[in-house]
Symmetry: C2
Subunit: 459 residues, 2 copies
């Protein structure tokens, strides 16, 4: 059942221009996806809502767009060069590469990616008979090797000897920490304040799965909130609430969201929770809210030699600020929206209609404009005029192809809230038929009121 | 003079939170920049205007967001693996790396990056006495080596042997060409139509210069328009006009823009023009409008084995579509906006005010809200209330620090069109003082009309 729902969503996403496999005409490029015309509009809407909520609505949160590339020492300071790795094994029969911890977990053996090579090797040999290569079914594997997830490049390296690789960022937040002082020095902010950023990050995931849920190239939306040490846990709790409310306010059903508290914390973290969404393949993380303490700014102070402590202008107290992080992914939000919106409904005639019930303000196309008949120039002309009027304010689509029923069905599948039909009455009385995506009810609206009608209907 | 203007703009950009050098606390990372809080708002405004103009306003142009990573064969097909390189030399004395063609050009010797290694070596030895290392002044250089500008990575490579590097894209348009068929198959489009995309690209530039004008990591805004072969030059001309109008409509002064026609065309190009902007360091390209013929789709048909020809549904004619490309950069647009907006004005008291006269709708902050006095809780409370009202519709800022004159000056330097002051009269009559960035005139506005007043003022 879960399988079928996911297969259907994936099929619709491709067929209707939301998501394409990367380099498809070349046979596909693993673990990377492209957003098609409706995917990019949906992603942009999601990013806009996040930015509005985090930056525009908060007096004390500012935006940032740091580059993907940075001084490689930043990844030494953050601990990624030494510690950011997964246990890699290879099937000796078919050469498929696997994450040892995942193979163990899926065979009912408790394991995680933080375990040492020795521990994992022992688990693998102790449970040899249980294990099976998911590709070929054999059970002979190579020894475990810890593989670093940071992607390396030769940017700025003109010798081509790879001695000093420059990393693509593995997370966007490091760009925020290293600009903490720049922001303090150039913007009128005082602690507590936050810095928010949307941008790409890259990880050499050994196995990427579940469609766009885990990809090697992905886009993060992260906010780092800097506070005095003594109020960090209060801040943490308030951000937990705010972030859950964000998803509820977007219209995600309450029963599809839940909290996951991290039991094993990295040594510097004081507390960590994930918001999980109920995907067809199970509850999975969509956002992490983490109390990172003063670890990051302390590390960068140490490695850069620049003091990143803060002096409170009122009390004169000096400290390294503590950080609450909220971190989510554009791709995961998009996938959640596709899953949440996907609806099959029986309609009058026994047919099933597929409709993407996106939150209206996030829909890729806000209104579609149809002339009733393609071969009536007066209808087409009038419809174009209405399209030209509406496109100034909304992403619209013009479609004069096929019968109206077919056009409705196509717009339902891309989640367009309003379909506007121009017919012969329109030429007489300047009214149009507006059909609602969810109720399928039709209303006659005066053209002059159309913009207002749509604006109000999107709220 | 040019030097000073550029230095001033660069200084303001840093000091006022538009642009920071990458990894500054680590001593800076060459040829990469980060956008600060006002830089990212300005960049987002620019991207939004471009997207609106190209995608939203055109019935037959759709958006796309293809990934940075693609199948490496795409870069073989495009010609980048073999031909996308610059002539690299190194000063034997101080090891500074230089582009040989630039060194020659700056010494009055005609040269370009397409010349063969032999030709450049001959020019270097013929003109030896004229040449000087810009760093140390010596004139002994290594032999020329063609250096490929594609940035390589180990994405998806778990052997770490660099035998099969995966490239970061050198231009975003290839992601459009390889998705041409996906878009055709999933979206109701017919030729002529366009695909538009905003995204990052990377080039291993040997020398990066002029602030954010040429950087190794940059963001492109590209649109590829597909037509029948016989109308491609007509289309090309119409896009030339549209793209120039775009900049004029944004408010760029006519005398600061000009056309540059390419004299030497790559073999497949039919025509190529650049729009140049008069930066303080001279007229330089901000956008290229290029007639690329059927080269790109032909190459990808050949290399992928998938036929990318199009059959006209009306005439049945089959052809490989021709492409008109419009390609510009977010960073260059942002730098142009900073240069165009930068204004020094003498004001009454003989002082000079620096004001960033951005097009109002592109300004990073649309309105700033000030309580007249910080230590009057009733003023601060009222001001916050107005801030909370306005922030729903506009990026706003709240500032209660220092005297009003200082706050105005700060907002002038970030280009905020409206400053709103809440004083004791406000508490009596619900009016506020709105001060205009450009005229510095002050008007008394009723709070209920404030949103409307700002909305209208941004047009």
């Amino acid at each position: 059942m879960a399988e079928t729902t996911m297969t259907k969503i994936q099929g619709l996403a491709k067929q209707r221009g939301f998501i394409y496999q990367s380099s498809e005409i070349y046979g596909g490029f693993a673990a990377v996806y492209d957003y098609g015309p409706y995917g990019v509009e949906l992603a942009n809407s999601i990013k806009r809502e996040w930015w509005k909520e985090m930056v525009q609505f908060h007096e004390n949160i500012v935006g940032l767009d740091s580059a993907i590339f940075m001084d490689p020492r930043i990844w030494l300071a953050s601990g990624h060069v030494s510690g950011f790795s997964d246990p890699l094994i290879e099937c000796k029969n078919c050469n498929t590469r696997l994450r040892a911890d995942q193979l163990l977990e899926e065979s009912g053996v408790e394991a995680d990616e933080k375990m040492s090579e020795e521990v994992i090797n022992k688990l693998l040999s102790d449970n040899k008979t249980k294990l099976k290569c998911p590709s070929c079914g054999k059970n002979t594997f190579s020894e475990v090797k810890k593989f670093n997830l940071l992607v390396k490049s030769n940017l700025g390296d003109f010798n081509d000897n790879w001695e000093n690789p420059v990393y693509l960022r593995g997370e966007t937040c490091q760009g925020i920490y290293v600009n903490f002082k720049n922001v303090l020095d150039s913007i009128r902010v005082q602690i507590p304040f936050g810095i928010a950023q949307i941008g790409k990050a890259f990880r050499n995931e050994i196995t990427a799965r579940q469609f766009i849920f885990r990809t090697r190239e992905f886009e993060q939306m992260e906010m780092q909130y800097f506070t005095a040490p003594d109020i960090d846990m209060k801040t943490f709790e308030s951000w937990r609430k705010k972030r859950m409310d964000f998803y509820l306010n977007l219209g995600i059903k309450k029963e599809n969201l839940r909290w996951h508290k991290h039991e094993k914390l990295v040594f510097y973290a004081k507390e960590a929770y994930d918001i999980e969404y109920k995907f067809p393949f199970g509850f999975k993380e969509i956002e992490g809210i983490h109390a990172r303490g003063d670890y990051d700014l302390t590390q960068h102070s140490k490695f850069s030699g620049i003091d990143l402590s803060y002096t409170d202008p009122k009390t004169g107290e000096k400290y390294i600020p503590h950080v609450t992080e909220t971190s989510t992914g554009v791709g995961r939000n998009l996938l959640m929206m596709l899953c949440e919106a996907y609806t099959e409904e029986k309609i009058n005639n026994g047919e099933t209609r597929v409709v993407m019930k996106f939150p209206r303000n996030l829909s890729p196309v806000k209104a579609a404009v149809f002339p009733l008949l393609k071969n009536k120039p007066e209808l087409v002309k009038k419809a174009k005029k209405i399209f030209d009027l509406l496109k100034k304010s909304f992403v619209c689509e013009f479609d004069d192809n096929g019968n109206i029923g077919k056009r409705y069905r196509r717009q339902d599948e891309i989640g367009t809230p309003f379909c506007i039909t121009i017919d012969f009455d329109t030429l007489e009385d300047n009214t149009v038929t507006v059909r609602d995506r969810d109720t399928m009810k039709q209303e006659r609206i005066v053209i002059d009121n159309l913009s207002d009608y749509i604006s109000k209907g999107l709220l």
